[in-house]
Symmetry: C2
Subunit: 245 residues, 2 copies
Amino acid sequence: MVSNMQRSVSNFRLKAACSNCNLRELCLPIGLSIDEMQQMDDLSRLKRGYARGDYLYRSGDKFQSLYAIHSGSFKTQALHEDGREQVTGFQMHGEIIGLDAICTDHHTCEAVALENSEVCELPFNKLETLSRKFPSLQRHLHKIMSREIVRDQGIMLLLGSMRAEERLAVFLLSLSQRFAARGLSPTQFQLRMSRQEIGSYLGLKLETVSRSFSNFQDNGLINVKARSVELLDLPSLHSLVGKQL
Amino acid sequence: MVSNMQRSVSNFRLKAACSNCNLRELCLPIGLSIDEMQQMDDLSRLKRGYARGDYLYRSGDKFQSLYAIHSGSFKTQALHEDGREQVTGFQMHGEIIGLDAICTDHHTCEAVALENSEVCELPFNKLETLSRKFPSLQRHLHKIMSREIVRDQGIMLLLGSMRAEERLAVFLLSLSQRFAARGLSPTQFQLRMSRQEIGSYLGLKLETVSRSFSNFQDNGLINVKARSVELLDLPSLHSLVGKQL
DNA sequence: CATGGATTTTGACATATATCAAACCGGTTA
DNA sequence: TAACCGGTTTGATATATGTCAAAATCCATG
């Protein structure tokens, strides 16, 4: 085990090492030595920018790397054979995407920038090599993958058993929480995605999303005007979730 | 790289080593030496039996191990705060469950035996230790987790954009394929779960599941009587999926 | 600042699925 | 065999969300 002292020191250094690529997800909870840090640092030299609408990867692309979002945000969407597509997630600063591609060596969905964004490329081979050397990194990688599974199961629950307004409330509260975790306002933010994209993610048509927004506004729960949202009554939004029927 | 010769030898030995616990998922694609085999073999000594209705683990349980299903089948279900529960998957022989627990060190869903079943317990610490030593095992573990993510995204697609009969068709075809992969009939099988459980998994009420079954039967696509199912027209079932509207 | 295209909102109406209720069935127990 | 019980099927009706269409608004660009 690493002592507390050691850990806090290495966490400090970690921040420095990751400063060229703020790997919140990947870095924060790990306690590494300075030498280890050095190697971690080599992992993700490549930072690349993407303009709104650019593809980070497309379905079918050969899998090489995971991507840590450094700034901006993305959506991932799965494509069905019959042409249907569905948004499977919205990712923002500090989150890792590309995990779906490991199992087939090819990406099974596509990732599109919702705004101008930067990502760090994490070559998966290197990541595996390093994580064989550093148990804490190994465990952390496993946790990231597991968290993605849990997240997906939460969405399955949402899609399988919630009504439109519950889904939207869950969506807004999740955004709120994620903004808060990044030091941004939990109650006032700009949506980076269209009604259509929200609907696709929540299993609803855009008109239903729009109506639900309007209802929330009429009931004093939120202020919404196009893509700018203000959450006025978080407790009520919370309590709205789970009111079946 | 391991030569083909080597790989086929080690795969042979692998079968022997895993004979006390048929780890289809975990073992098959790995090429290991005899010594490595020995260590793998030590991994999963514990095989335990569960009767229909028994819990393999419950939500909140401390995470210790993954479980490889050796015989029988299970359902996993997530519990919502408000008491709602939703089936998130049905697992059968050779599949691994428990991946959701890695990220929080506690199980976030529960696993219940659908019939009398046996599982091999895979202590996760040991699995991590071994996978640091054996890159092929490491990669395989990553693939298993990634496959779970892809599977979940498939269900999100189903829940988010398919109509009742499409969902049921996908469900039946998936079962069919999995039975086939295990050397069982892809067209004739017994369901191990109730209409209620199928409905929960597919985001439908049991009556809707029942009606969809009946419609399929009326259209000559299947024969169904209670829990025994015969798929009569696989092509039509396939083509049914993706007919939006 | 004006224009035009995309996005969003709102309305009227259609429909798939949920809900409620009753009948049916198969297996188990008395 | 009869009675019973959980699970399943089927029917009648209600409702949430989808569909189609028009109006309103936003935003980028000239």
